[in-house]
């Protein structure tokens, strides 16, 4: 049995995002990282590998620079690296999900770990969408996962609270921030990862039909500037602030 982990490269969360000519200016972004929730998915995938999964496959879809995510994954234990290469600056959910589903099928994995939400899109569409397309089960907001024979148990935040669940067959797990400590690669891991080959595949090589885009990006804009806030000294000002909350802001 193999485990696939979906990793997306996003601007580091400390990066400043600026808009120029109705697009986010990528050239101004100096640091790109694995999307934070995907790091938890990766960590959990390594833990599954340590408890007996045969192969850990890391998959990313993105431009050339995204291969860095795969090398990082290799440095902490990924066995196989698949990079679906594209320069598209925007993909609708249908296109991205059919690409990733096809890459997962290619990997032969029936357990898939990904982030609950990417730090750039903030969507949370991909995990459940890919599960639907593949006909897999889906468990969202997972913080812990373990394997017992052919069954997988996970802790997730369900609609009624924190629960322990169990799934038998093929499944996509979307990860939330967990209690687990993320491991750092050691020197040997880093050296080995540099030598690990990456299977770079063009979208056209996947042999899937991509229809015309169903969502198009019109523009990026900067969020509206907030008027400068009002600052008060000392707790004595609270009465004034409370009346402003009522009369100015109308929120109470």
């Amino acid at each position: 049995m193999g485990v696939a982990v979906l990793l997306k490269q996003v601007p580091d969360t400390t990066a400043k995002i600026s808009v120029s000519g109705s697009r986010v200016d990528e050239s101004a972004i100096t640091k790109w990282s694995i999307s934070p929730y995907d790091e938890y998915a990766l960590e959990s995938a390594i833990a599954l590998k340590e408890s007996g999964v045969d192969e850990l496959v890391a998959i990313t879809c993105g431009p050339q620079r995204a291969s860095k995510c795969l090398t990082e994954a290799a440095s902490v234990g990924a066995d196989r690296l698949i990079h679906i290469l594209t320069d598209a600056d925007f993909m609708d959910s249908c296109t991205l999900q059919s690409i990733l589903s096809s890459a997962i099928q290619r990997s032969g994995c029936d357990i898939v770990l990904c982030g609950k939400q990417a730090a750039d899109t903030n969507s949370g569409s991909t995990g459940p969408g890919v599960a639907s397309l593949l006909g897999y089960s889906c468990v969202g907001s997972v913080t812990e996962i373990s394997m017992d024979g052919s069954k997988i148990s996970a802790t997730r935040l369900g609609n009624t609270g924190l629960e322990k669940i169990e799934v038998g067959g093929p499944c996509v797990f979307t990860f939330d921030k967990g209690e687990v400590e993320l491991r750092r690669p050691n020197v040997r891991g880093i050296m080995m990862a540099k030598k690990k080959p990456i299977e770079s595949i063009g979208i056209e090589e996947l042999g899937i039909e991509i229809g015309s885009p169903k969502t198009s990006l019109k523009s990026h804009v900067s969020p509206p500037e907030k008027p400068p806030g009002q600052k008060f000294e000392g707790a004595g000002s609270i009465e004034i602030v409370v009346s402003k909350l009522r009369d100015e802001a109308n929120v109470i």
Binding site: N122, P128, G161, K164, C171, K218, V221, K231, S243, L245
Partner: protein, 311 residues
């Protein structure tokens, strides 16, 4: 443009969440007729009373006893009519909307904050550091952000039809580890009060709970608070790796305002920050900042807020 619109209702604590009326408001602004699907049957009587709803479908079945997004969406999908499907952008709403979209081959766009004929939508990306405008072709599935659309009024008299479904469940719940708090969830409340490491120790959060109970708010926390103190559950964490909240009022107490915290709350309508350090970055995005300790501020805040709210 007139088209059939299907809304999947949002439920919290067995009754209809206010975002459902907001979805009806958003739908009515661009088309109709509007039908509402109530998964598990919850809230169907309330949904029928929302003005502008022409039909309510209450879907009942064993599969709604526990949560399995694929089973739920499989049970719901056959009852969807029309070219536009709306859900809320709660965690559950996002999962159901994506699963339904993928099953139908529709595109899905999450967490929209505006919707125009056409269809064009806006949504925030990079944790609120930018906004994107998208054009979506119909048919499609959209999830809407709470408190972004004018709710439809009460006053409808839609017919309710009840259907029974049976659907295979593949996610087995073995054990409930912690019940969702009796308290209001941060992602759902109109007012959120969050405490940070500046609260000093976890038992001091009781002051925030008391204030929250007084004014009907939810209590949140920074990651430093969640990570440092076992008593503060992860479900309370606001921020990039916690929850994104968009209340009308966000009150940050003893929180410095790290960029990852801002990522989860910067889209709140109004922000009030209480911090003893006048240089704390949180003041940079606060509409109202009070430079004081929580020890002095919380009692005064409680006194004045409850006085005003009981007027």
């Amino acid at each position: 443009m007139i088209m059939d619109i299907t809304i999947i209702s949002e439920v919290s604590n067995d009754s209809l969440h206010p975002v459902t009326a907001q979805m009806v408001g958003a739908a009515s602004s661009i088309g109709g007729p509007v039908s509402v699907i109530c998964p598990g049957g919850f809230g169907s009587v309330e949904a029928a009373k929302i003005a502008g709803v022409s039909k309510v479908i209450s879907i009942e079945g064993d599969c709604f006893d526990s949560y399995d997004s694929m089973a739920w969406s499989g049970a719901i999908e056959p009852f969807i009519e029309g070219d536009l499907v709306l859900t809320s952008s709660s965690t559950l709403g996002r999962e159901i909307s994506s699963a339904i979209a993928a099953k139908k081959g529709f595109p899905v766009v999450q967490d929209i904050t505006s919707l125009d004929d056409g269809i064009s939508v806006t949504r925030s990306i990079f944790s609120g550091k930018a906004i994107e405008e998208l054009e979506v072709s119909v048919p499609c599935v959209l999830s809407i952000r709470a408190n972004s659309f004018q709710p439809a009024d009460v006053g409808g008299e839609a017919e309710i039809s009840t259907v029974n479904v049976s659907q295979q469940v593949s996610v087995a719940v073995k054990e409930a580890l912690a019940k969702a708090g009796e308290r209001l969830d941060v992602a759902e409340a109109d007012i959120v009060i969050s405490g940070g490491r500046g609260m000093g120790n976890p038992s001091n959060f009781s002051h925030l709970y008391e204030l929250a109970d007084e004014i009907g708010a939810a209590v949140g926390a920074s990651r430093a608070a969640v990570d440092t103190w076992e008593e503060i559950p992860h479900s309370m964490q606001v921020g990039q790796t916690g929850k994104t909240v968009t209340p009308n009022l966000y009150i940050a107490v003893g929180i410095s305002g790290a960029i990852q915290h801002l990522a989860g709350m910067r889209s709140s309508k109004y922000i009030l920050a209480i911090n003893k350090d006048p240089e704390a970055p949180i003041f940079g995005i606060a509409d109202y900042g009070i430079v004081a300790t929580w020890e002095e501020s919380i009692p005064a805040l409680k006194e004045h807020l409850s006085a005003i709210m009981s007027d």
